[in-house]
């Protein structure tokens, strides 16, 4: 039952993006594709896990969907704490959603530093004709913040697989480079981590 403890790599990936940009369909497409119905858990599209085998390394992805609505953002940080990776999704027909992505990138970098591996996904490329976010601008922005940009379409199943694969590989790299990390030993570091977790939250809820 417990997610920790098993041998192999455990990665947590958060999915961020405004409502209606299609992050849910994106992740559903990815997990549906190979394992059909089996991998849609009873939690449906909100929380998904995916097992991968990359170059002999067993990887377990836990993909956390987040709510796009503004009113649920107050507790955003508790969603993406301890994340190894993040996928930021925008709708290429919606300039506003791209602005939101920029905000999230800032916040993630602020909260998680350079540890987190970022991917930016310009979704709905099946609606290329209505594009409102220039591809060059988006790509340039992505490289400027150390993220990778992908053009995806959940509807046409384009770019989805590649994006997740690339993200996983990059997370693996980071994980093996920085060995003494929090992901290595859940048992021994438990106390320290939990105590630091408790404090910002109490402050947070205290002020509201």
């Amino acid at each position: 039952m417990a997610a920790g403890g098993a041998r192999g790599h455990q990665f947590k990936v958060v999915l961020l993006g405004e409502g209606c940009v299609g992050k849910t369909s994106l992740v559903l497409r990815y997990c549906e594709d190979k394992f059909n119905d089996k991998h849609i858990s009873t939690l449906q599209a909100s929380f998904l896990t995916k097992k991968l085998n990359i170059a002999g390394k067993r990887v377990n992805l836990a993909i956390w969907d987040t709510a796009g609505q503004e009113r649920f953002h107050a507790l955003g940080p508790i969603y993406y704490r301890d994340s190894n990776g993040a996928i930021l999704v925008y709708d290429i027909t919606d300039e506003d959603s791209f602005q939101k992505v920029k905000n999230w990138v800032k916040e993630l970098r602020k909260m998680l530093g350079s540890e987190v591996t970022l991917c930016i996904a310009g979704n709905k490329i099946d609606l290329e004709k209505q594009r409102n976010v220039p591809a060059e601008e988006a790509e340039a922005y992505a490289t400027s913040v150390g993220a990778k940009h992908f053009h995806t379409s959940a509807k046409l199943n384009k770019g989805v697989e590649e994006m997740f694969l690339d993200l996983t590989k990059r997370m693996l790299e980071k994980d093996t480079n920085s060995k003494p990390d929090a992901t290595a030993k859940p048992g021994s570091t438990r106390r320290n981590i939990q105590i630091t977790e408790d404090e910002p939250q109490e402050q947070k809820s205290g002020c509201c």
Partner: protein
């Protein structure tokens, strides 16, 4: 002649009656009484004969007189044997000579057998006298032999060894009995109140010898009755004695050998433990404790063969998590197991600390429930079923603002209003107490102005609202009177809060007690406490002298209590973790196979239920007290939006297909969520949350397929899940979800939080936060 014979016949019969009674007492082993009775019989006979002799010139009836004299003689003989026996039994009690069963006391009912029994007593004297007089001697005389009553009976044999040392070391009789006293309620029923074993154990060699001797004695008695009056009786008696003494000697030797063997084994286990590990890395157990514990566990296993089977299984499949779970469950449900006993000690410690504290704290603010009635407008919200709730709330908010302004200035009167709002389904019974706190420092002025306040709110409110107010105005007046009484009462008690916080400090200081001596240096809270303490003492000096500072002071007291509660919480959480780590360490000491990351996690997860469930009522109460303010906010929101529809919380239309007013949507999910309060451990609570989230998804699925048959829309992403869950939270009307969530967050191990469980908890927290934020809008 015949006329004279009559009184003497009567005297003989009366004397016989007395003697009979004496013999009966003798046979009942009431030696002292029998002795007196014998002497009385003698006195009666001699007195009778004396009067007769004085009155007449000679014995009137020679035959009868002779019989009487004989009777008296026999009585004197019996009395002398009885005194012998009394002496004997006294010396026996002192020396503690091996006991034996019932005396072959005379049972002869009458005069005829009297002679015979007396003779038997005399002839059997050497043997007879050395025997203990009665069964009572066996029971009451303290045996010198080790392990008659005070030790658990032990097996005489090869396959399982008796726990001679076990009995002494593990059962803490004094502390155990004393500690169970404060146990109340559910804890008492879930924890064993007495460590005494109900288990049957084979008898020890000594006990066996006793039983053998008893059998011998019975056989001897049987033979005695058959051989009455014969010569070889004395010999028989001697041989019986010899055999019994031999039996005891053998038994004693056996017991000694056994004890030595046990000690040997204990040493062996300790040495084995010392070889196996120096200490368990990173766990709070010093080396010598490890060794001692290991020896204890092994010894316990010697009696409980099923545990050996588990050990063998574990050695074979040390990776099998299910096996680990089962093993830990088995161990912790076995009340006699050394580890379980230690865990119970921890639980008792926790309970002893928490129970008085929680009792005290719970009296302060009343339990937050929905509907949470603060003023009558809340009732309006709760009572109405308007679908335009959200839009109309702004209008009403402005109205609230007026009332709230009032309540800011005169806290007392608004409280009285609350108290009298009898038509509200609120928890009126407890408001008396609550208001006593609030009104503690309310000035008389405030009380006088309350009529005015009520009038104002009455005129400014909507029509039906003002009606309500008018109807309760009289009640308000009487409530004010009550309030005044309370104020005067409370003036006398005004120092209690401070005493509380001092108690709290004492708790904190005693907290780092003997259990973890090595941790005392870590007590970082100490300096902070000291200053608090000083402050409170300073304030003590000021109280009562300056009335106007009362309010300010109350605020400070409240703040201090709040601080103390928070500190308690931190401390208790720390203690619980410490205790759980200790139990884990003990498990690992007992079973080295468990010392892997997965094994540890599994152990911790499994021990949660047995560890938390007896103490959860207290721990939970502390959390509720600590999160009181947040719960109030949540309760406010729940009251205000109790009839909001899913659409109003941002649930997309497609998921509200069956939304008809009055039908409870997502009822299964709400019911599941409500169950969280009856779970007694963090993990079981978390599992309940996961089931709730799943139920939400299933309900949503069901709704869509019934409504528009939009199969493609069935997948619920976070965009849908959060509003739905917010709706379910509102419907649950459980403000304590705040503290439930908090406790899960604190106690759930990190391993759990990466997976689905963590996701569900995070989602619930976010939704709760959103719902609570509704109260502010």
């Amino acid at each position: 002649m015949s006329g004279m014979a009559a009184p003497q016949d009567g005297a003989l019969q009366a004397a016989m009656g007395l003697v009979k009674e004496a013999i009966r007492l003798d046979s009942l082993e009431k030696t002292q009484d029998a002795y007196i009775q014998y002497l009385e019989s003698v006195a009666y006979i001699s007195q009778g004969l004396l009067t007769e002799a004085k009155g007449h010139t000679g014995p009137a009836n020679v035959k009868n007189t002779k019989r009487l004299l004989q009777l008296a003689q026999q009585c004197i003989e019996r009395a002398s044997t009885v005194t012998d026996r009394m002496q004997e039994s006294q010396s026996l009690q002192q020396s503690g000579m091996g006991p034996a069963e019932g005396s072959p006391g005379p049972t002869a009912p009458g005069n005829h057998s009297m002679q015979a029994t007396a003779v038997m007593g005399a002839s059997a004297a050497p043997g007879y006298q050395s025997l203990p007089p009665a069964t009572s001697g066996y029971q009451s005389s303290p045996p010198t032999a080790p392990g008659n009553q005070s030790l658990p009976p032990a097996a005489p044999g090869n396959q399982s060894l008796p726990p001679v040392t076990h009995g002494n070391q593990f059962i803490p009789p004094a502390s155990g009995a004393a500690r169970t006293a404060p146990f109340q309620g559910n804890l008492r029923s879930t924890l064993p109140t007495s460590p005494a074993s109900s288990r049957r154990m084979p008898p020890s060699p000594l006990q066996k010898a006793y039983q053998d001797n008893q059998k011998l004695m019975a056989a001897y008695q049987a033979r005695m009755t058959r051989l009455r009056g014969r010569r070889d009786k004395g010999q028989l008696n001697l041989s019986l004695q010899r055999r019994m003494i031999e039996n005891m000697a053998i038994a004693r030797a056996k017991q000694e050998a056994l004890k030595r063997k046990m000690e040997e084994r204990h040493r062996q286990y300790q040495e084995e433990a010392a070889r196996q590990f120096t200490s368990v890395d990173g766990l709070p157990l010093p080396e010598d404790q490890c060794q001692e514990l290991y020896a204890q566990i092994k010894e316990f296993e010697d009696q409980e063969l099923w545990l050996k089977a588990w050990r063998a299984k574990l050695a074979e499949h040390s990776e099998d998590l299910k096996l680990i779970e089962d093993l830990v469950k088995q161990i912790l449900s076995c009340q006699e197991h050394p580890i379980t006993k230690k865990m119970q000690q921890f639980q008792l410690k926790l309970y002893d600390r928490l129970h008085p504290l929680v009792e005290k704290l719970q009296q302060e603010p009343e339990k937050v429930t929905v509907p949470y009635i603060e003023d009558l407008t809340d009732l309006e919200h709760y009572g109405s079923r308007s679908t335009e709730q959200l839009s109309s709330s702004q209008e009403e908010d402005s109205l609230n603002a007026v009332v709230e302004d009032k309540s800011d200035t005169d806290e007392g009167p608004t409280q009285s209003e609350r108290k009298t709002s009898e038509e509200g389904p609120g928890d009126i019974a407890s408001t008396g107490e609550q208001s006593s706190l609030y009104e503690q420092n309310a000035s008389d002025q405030a009380l006088e102005s309350s009529d005015e306040t009520v009038d104002k709110t009455g005129t400014e409110g909507p029509g039906d609202f003002s009606d309500t107010v008018r109807s309760v105005q009289d009640d308000v007046k009487s409530a004010i009177q009550k309030g005044e009484e309370l104020v005067s009462k409370l003036k006398a008690q005004s120092n209690t809060p401070r005493r509380d916080s001092e108690d709290d400090l004492a708790y904190l200081q005693n907290n780092m007690d003997d259990m973890f001596e090595d941790l005392t240096e870590e007590c970082e809270d100490e300096p902070g406490n000291k200053t608090d303490h000083d402050q409170s003492q300073e304030e003590d000096g000021e109280t009562g002298t300056e009335k106007q500072e009362g309010e300010k002071e109350e605020e400070e007291v409240e703040k201090m209590t709040e601080d103390a509660v928070q500190k308690h919480l931190v401390q208790v959480v720390k203690d619980i973790r410490e205790f759980m780590d200790h139990v884990l360490a003990m498990l690992i000491v007992g079973y080295r196979e468990l010392n892997s990351v997965a094994g540890r996690d599994q152990c911790l997860a499994t021990m949660e239920e047995p560890f938390f469930s007896p103490v959860w009522s207290c721990v939970g109460a502390l959390f509720r007290r600590a999160d009181h303010k947040k719960e109030v906010v949540l309760a406010r929101a729940m009251t205000r939006y109790s009839h909001a529809l899913p659409e109003e919380l941002g649930v997309p239309e497609r998921l509200c297909a069956a939304s008809v007013e009055g039908t409870a949507l997502y009822k299964p999910a709400v019911n599941e969520l409500r169950r969280v309060t009856s779970c007694n451990s963090p993990i079981s609570k978390l599992e309940c949350i996961v089931r709730t989230c799943r139920a939400v998804c299933e309900c949503a699925d069901h709704d869509t397929s019934e409504g528009a048959a939009q199969k493609t829309a069935a997948s619920i992403g976070a965009d849908d899940l959060l509003p739905l869950l917010s709706y379910v939270i509102l419907q649950s009307e459980l403000p304590q979800l705040m503290s439930e969530c908090h406790s899960m967050e604190v106690f759930i191990r990190e391993g759990y939080l990466l997976g689905e469980e963590g996701y569900c908890l995070t989602t619930l927290q976010t939704a709760l936060d959103y719902v609570a934020s509704l109260a502010k809008s």
